[in-house]
Symmetry: C2
């Protein structure tokens, strides 16, 4: 079953949350956000391109660090307002150098 791009529901800021998961280990790496342009670029490049909410700009993950995330698969949830992107990461997902951003418990 497939969902078309036009069915994706963006929030009031034009964004959709994106869960990034390692396609080999199934480890959850990070949560980020895409707008429609970054999703289009993600599909075009085959690498994750997010919208940086803090910087207010497109963010091609790994463009400077080299830690790109190659797209294996993009999945959509039941109400089409969240994406799950399964990737092969070239390096750590987290700016701290940790493989996953979720390296701490509560």
């Amino acid at each position: 079953m497939e969902v078309s791009l036009s069915e994706i529901k963006y929030d009031a800021n034009g964004l959709v949350p994106v869960i990034v998961q390692d396609a080999d280990t199934n480890e959850v790496l990070m949560l980020a956000y895409m707008n429609s342009e970054s999703l289009r670029l993600t599909m075009e490049k085959g690498e994750t391109v997010f919208w940086s909410r803090s910087r207010g700009e497109l963010w091609h993950k790994g463009a400077t660090s080299g830690n790109i995330q190659r797209i294996v698969e993009i999945r959509v949830d039941c109400d089409e307002d969240t994406l799950l992107v399964r990737v092969q990461p070239a390096g750590p997902a987290c700016h701290t150098g940790e493989r996953s951003c979720f390296y701490r418990g509560i």
Copy 2:
């Protein structure tokens, strides 16, 4: 390394996105939202309690369906604005009856 509850950063609506992952299979099941009260109740009950944005009320997952999600671990991301909850689910996560809400590709 541990994060204290008071460090969690809620958005303008008082919510934090929560990735729910099966602790046994590492499958990503769903994305939902918690406010501080639902997080407190989640920790108290040892089962997921979300904030339903559509209904505007607390939502004890599985309270009516029986498909509760028993908490194994709660993790926090690097900027403390997303939670990863690893669970043992008693049944499907999705209201469609699918095990995961991410049952479709794009």
